[in-house]
């Protein structure tokens, strides 16, 4: 883990409210695994104060890294104004990751909204290992506008299921409905790995529980330090009173944190 002074190389605007920042000088992040994240902050003074937790979308050995951000509040709005040349302080890579793709089993990856990066990185890892066929990705959003980086996922050559609540792209309905239909088809005991809004993760965890499938979820919680020091990112758990998202997670066995 490192504390890096990174430079914004480019900003790519995706659908409204989503953007990618490509960062240089991030050699120290190379080898970061899918699900791992960084704490990021620009040089914007004392307010907002805390860095923001953002998953890695990419972390290449040449020092190029990328994050995909959804603008929700003041911190992400400030990040959205970063242009080439801006400096960011980046702490990472932090946290746990999705397990490596496994030749013997199918992984169904489910993403919603800003939950795309870990799923993208996991799919990319499978593709790089020649196991693109072992992975299927489910990406859901309200409208066609809320499917950030679907193009990136398409380029990986993995099987991609898109859903929108309003049917404006892909199948109409919730991503979990598409997941269930697919589970009915494929049979066997695929692993589920999900990242996205809490209600989506909750629903995926429930599906896994009912079908007795292994399931990993990547959680979000308000964070101050990202290092296991502030104890702010606690989430009630099954095996002990609390787990800490920054250190014990963000990737958890769904059974540990849901129900």
């Amino acid at each position: 883990m490192n504390f890096i002074d990174a430079g914004v190389v480019a900003r790519e605007d995706l659908a409204p409210g989503y953007f990618i920042l490509r960062l240089g000088g991030c050699e120290a992040l190379a080898g970061a695994l899918p699900g791992q994240f960084v704490m990021v902050r620009g040089d914007w003074g004392r307010d907002p104060l805390l860095p923001r937790a953002i998953s890695l979308l990419e972390a290449r050995p040449d020092g190029m890294a990328a994050i995909l951000v959804k603008t929700v509040g003041r911190g992400t709005a400030l990040l959205s104004r970063a242009t080439a040349g801006a400096r960011l302080r980046v702490l990472g890579p932090l946290g746990t990751a999705f397990p490596a793709p496994d030749a013997a089993r199918q992984d169904l990856l489910i993403a919603g909204g800003s939950g795309v990066p870990p799923v993208y990185l996991q799919a990319a890892r499978a593709a790089a290992a020649g196991r693109a066929d072992r992975v299927e990705v489910f990406l859901g959003g309200r409208t066609a506008q809320d499917l950030p980086y679907a193009t990136g996922l398409e380029r990986l050559g993995v099987s991609l299921h898109l859903t929108t609540d309003d049917g404006s792209r892909g199948q109409r309905g919730l991503v979990t409905a598409a997941l269930e239909r697919r589970l009915d088809e494929v049979g066997g005991r695929p692993r589920l790995m999900a990242c996205g809004p809490d209600p989506m993760l909750h629903a995926v965890a429930r599906i896994a529980r009912l079908r007795e499938l292994p399931c990993l979820v990547s959680l979000e919680a308000a964070m101050a330090c990202g290092l296991g020091a502030c104890l702010g990112c606690a989430v009630p758990a099954r095996s002990r009173p609390f787990v800490y998202v920054c250190q014990d997670g963000p990737v958890f066995d769904a059974a540990e944190v849901y129900q």
Binding site: L49, R89, L91, A229, C230, R240
Partner: protein, 306 residues
């Protein structure tokens, strides 16, 4: 630039420099080892330790505010035994003096905790957090009543083999009265300030943003209050060793706190913003002295022209 003697003595405790990290904001230090040169610091103050492990408060526990944050961690910690066994080995070897912050829910817990912690090899001093609800007094904090605080401090000082600093809450009418009571009772130093009691509300959900409703406000927002209290206490008790805490972000902030009367300095919330903040503060404080021809950092102490 001038060479600067950065050594300080905080009561009976000699430190290689005045910059420390504040309790609860630097974990048990090992968490920061990768990204912060912990050994460069004068000291580290650990997360608050109690006799038994504590899971802490329900969630959410933190939220951001203007130039600050609220926390209601609930004094979660690994407990004295795990601390001694699992956390002290790194701390002992890290190169910074180890000050162990501690608390109890009853007087006897406080005293036992002080006694046992002070026997752990490598513990240089204790820091008593008296902003803790006194379960026997209906939950009123020890730290809000000079008499209760004084008695508690006296017992802990008697029980401990190392200097005991007392960390004061700012949520009082008269911090000087509290400081006086603690000093009279043998406190080896005063740490000020702890967090200001605050609250945040989510107008849309109509709920408090913290599960416990209230939390402690920290960060740059509170620096003016901290500086005022350090100065007030220093003015009343010029010999009292003071460890200043509250919104400290830069070497210039550090110099301000020393001018107001502090001997040591604790970097708190800023560790979350930058994990190597305390080391930067130390470097900037040294540079500040050198640039101003200050050859001993302690010459800044109380040198405010007021």
């Amino acid at each position: 630039m001038t060479a600067v003697d950065m050594a300080v003595t905080m009561g009976a405790l000699a430190l290689k420099n005045p910059v420390m990290t504040a309790s609860g904001t630097f974990g048990y230090a090992a968490e920061f080892a990768d990204v912060c040169d912990v050994g460069a610091l004068g000291g580290v103050v650990t997360k608050g330790i109690s006799l038994q492990p504590r899971a802490g408060n329900p969630v959410p526990r933190i939220c951001e505010t203007a130039a600050g944050m609220l926390n209601s961690i609930g004094l979660a910690n690994v407990g004295l035994e795990a601390f001694a066994a699992d956390k002290m080995p790194y701390l002992r070897s890290c190169g910074a003096a180890v000050v162990v912050n501690f608390f109890g829910e009853t007087e006897s817990e406080y005293v036992e905790c002080a006694a046992r912690l002070s026997e752990i090899p490598g513990v240089a001093a204790l820091e008593m957090n008296i902003s803790c609800p006194n379960v026997h007094k209906g939950g009123i904090e020890f730290g809000r009543d000079p008499q209760a605080a004084g008695r508690l401090v006296r017992e802990c000082v008697a029980a401990a083999r190392v200097p005991v600093w007392v960390k004061l809450t700012p949520n009082v009418t008269d911090v000087v009265a509290l400081a006086g009571a603690c000093l009279e009772s043998g406190a080896g130093g005063l740490s000020l300030i702890n967090t200001l009691r605050g609250m945040a509300i989510d107008a849309r959900t109509r709920r408090p943003r913290l599960a416990t409703k209230f939390g402690g406000l920290s960060g740059p927002a509170i620096k003016p209050v901290a500086l005022r209290m350090v100065f007030e206490v220093h003015r009343a008790f010029p010999d009292a060793p003071i460890s200043a805490i509250g919104g400290l972000q830069s070497g210039e902030d550090a110099a301000e706190f020393m001018l107001a009367g502090a001997t040591t300095l604790q970097v708190g919330t800023q560790n979350f913003v930058e994990p190597d903040a305390a080391v930067r503060v130390l470097r900037e404080l040294r540079d500040f002295c050198a640039a101003g021809g200050v050859t001993r950092v302690l010459d800044l102490r109380g040198a405010l022209q007021a």
